[in-house]
């Protein structure tokens, strides 16, 4: 899938770009029409029941924290964000109402997020060997708003 506005995506299989609203980027869900299992990202078949009757739809953009870890070292390999002032990187599983959990970097104010806390989808840019690309992350929602 090519983004209509030519925005480079870190992996096009993970996203849906509405043709009538190129800025309305969403995470791509794939639902099995036979067993109902939902996946994050594109699939050629259902990993659970092996059906090839699949439906594509956007995933919810809000969910809750199912689990998390705090990486205390810069991730290995060609990490796409600056590590000069690296302190920690929070990685979590966000459970969406779509019955799927998405592995994601988290934006959190400190290294002690709470399981069950609400998070919302956000996008930012990471460096890749082919140049900058749009990636996803989940941001802790301000619970006062």
């Amino acid at each position: 899938m090519t983004a209509p506005n030519q925005r480079r995506l870190v992996n096009p299989d993970l996203f849906l770009v509405p043709e009538d609203n190129p800025s309305g980027l969403r995470l791509r869900g794939t639902e099995c029409l036979d067993c109902g299992e939902m996946f994050f990202g594109a699939r050629i078949g259902c990993e659970y029941c092996q059906s090839t009757r699949l439906s594509v739809r956007p995933l919810a953009d809000r969910g809750v924290l199912h689990s998390f870890t705090i990486l205390r070292n810069p991730p290995p390999g060609a990490y796409g964000r600056t590590i000069d002032d690296f302190t920690f990187l929070a990685i979590g599983l966000i459970e969406l109402p779509d019955r799927v959990r998405v592995l994601t970097p988290l934006t959190v104010p400190d290294d002690s997020p709470k399981i069950g806390a609400p998070f919302r989808l956000d996008f930012d840019e990471v460096s890749t060997p082919d140049g900058p690309a749009t990636a996803y992350r989940f941001v802790l929602e301000d619970q006062d708003t």
Binding site: E37, G77, P129, A133
Partner: protein
């Protein structure tokens, strides 16, 4: 026909500047051949488990023993690579294709986290989701909350295995650690500390497999391969490099599936085991896998330690070798390292770390993509 291990060899696990994977691999093979009291020309097929060393490394290592023209294949299945090599060797002798088959595991891995390019997609690396211990950290945090397991409990697994490793001349770390030292060591990915993680390193292990007629008299050195089961994850996939996780399905994890298959093939159950070597790539995993192997009910893995069951002298010692926490994890060699340890134990040759009168042992490995091997050996 019953497959038996007729010879074992092991190069210590550690870091060996100046030695190549060729040197390290040949060391274990030479030992295994001598232990089996056979010559290289009697080996009919060889499988080399490796993940990080160059292609055709098996053929290169074994060329030093002679170019006899046999099939020599490298096999790779992440942490279960050695279990696959053993399974191939067993099937070769059971099919009659080989009288003697060699399973070799050898590895050289640099310090630090696994090079993610071998397991993860470039986008996962760019986004920072490519540090393999984080998958178990995510699991450990949920597990601790669900089962009331504390950071001290997990540290105590590391204390036990490091204490066991002191007695293992093939281990990389042969030094005791205290609970306080473990908990004061650097946090790598919460809740996992540095002293709760295994080290990537170098080493090799080899076994010679042959088959015996049912009822044939067996030399005291020979140990029967009662079962080898190798699996990958059933849905839902939980392991690296997964990024989409089901919130609605729960199926048996690969360790349970492989263990149940191995027990069925062997005609044995968890109650028949005298010792276990299992994948403790981090200390938390020992709790999780002891449950998934059927050694304890869900959530009760820590009771094996608290109740003195999994310690030396207990009724089911776990990781008497010191486990991966003491030995390190040379991935291609680690599964066969467990097999060598079990053979030593069942022969009664394990020195100070011996489990007295052990007759049945289980070895377990699991890693990326859910590659999992469960092997049951019996005297």
């Amino acid at each position: 026909m019953r497959p038996v291990i007729a010879g074992i060899g092991i190069h210590p696990f550690g870091r060996f500047p100046g030695l190549s994977y060729l040197d390290i691999g040949r060391f274990a093979v030479a030992e295994a051949l001598a232990d089996a009291d056979i010559s290289w020309r009697e080996i009919d097929v060889a499988y080399c488990a490796a993940m990080f060393i160059p292609q055709t490394s098996g053929a290169r290592i074994l060329s030093a023993f002679g170019l006899t023209g046999i099939q020599i294949a490298n096999v790779e299945a992440a942490c279960a690579s050695g279990a696959v090599a053993l399974l191939q060797a067993v099937e070769a002798v059971l099919s009659g294709r080989a009288r003697y088959a060699l399973a070799l595991g050898v590895e050289q891995r640099p310090r630090g986290f696994i090079d993610p390019s071998g397991i993860f997609e470039p986008w996962q690396i760019a986004m920072g989701m490519s540090q393999t211990p984080m998958y178990w950290a995510l699991w450990a945090r949920r597990y601790m909350g669900a089962h009331g397991v504390t950071a001290e409990d997990i540290a105590d697994v590391s204390v036990k295995n490091h204490r066991n490793g002191v007695l293992n001349p093939y281990a990389m770390y042969r030094q005791e650690v205290t609970r306080a030292q473990v908990l004061a060591s650097k946090m790598v990915c919460d809740p996992i500390h540095l002293l709760e993680l295994c080290a990537p390193n170098e080493g090799s292990a080899a076994v010679v497999v042959t088959a015996q007629q049912d009822g044939a008299r067996r030399s005291s050195k020979m140990v029967e391969v009662a079962a080898v089961s190798v699996r990958t994850s059933m849905y839902p996939q939980r392991r690296a490099p997964a990024y989409s996780f089901s919130a609605s399905r729960e199926e048996a994890p690969e360790t349970t599936v492989a263990a149940e298959d191995a027990f069925a093939r062997a005609g044995l159950g968890p109650g028949d085991l005298d010792l276990v070597e299992l994948q403790d790539a981090d200390a938390f995993q020992e709790l999780l896998y002891s449950e998934q192997l059927g050694l304890a009910p869900e959530g009760d893995g820590i009771k094996l330690l608290r109740d003195g069951i999994s310690v030396p002298g207990g009724s089911l010692p776990i990781n008497m070798s010191g486990g991966l926490l003491s030995k390190g994890e040379p991935i291609g060699a680690s599964a066969l390292g467990q097999i060598v340890e079990l053979v030593m134990q069942l022969r009664g040759d394990a020195g100070q770390r011996m489990v007295p009168n052990a007759r049945v042992g289980l070895a377990h490995v699991v890693g990326a993509a859910g590659n999992c091997g469960v092997t049951i050996l019996k005297k």
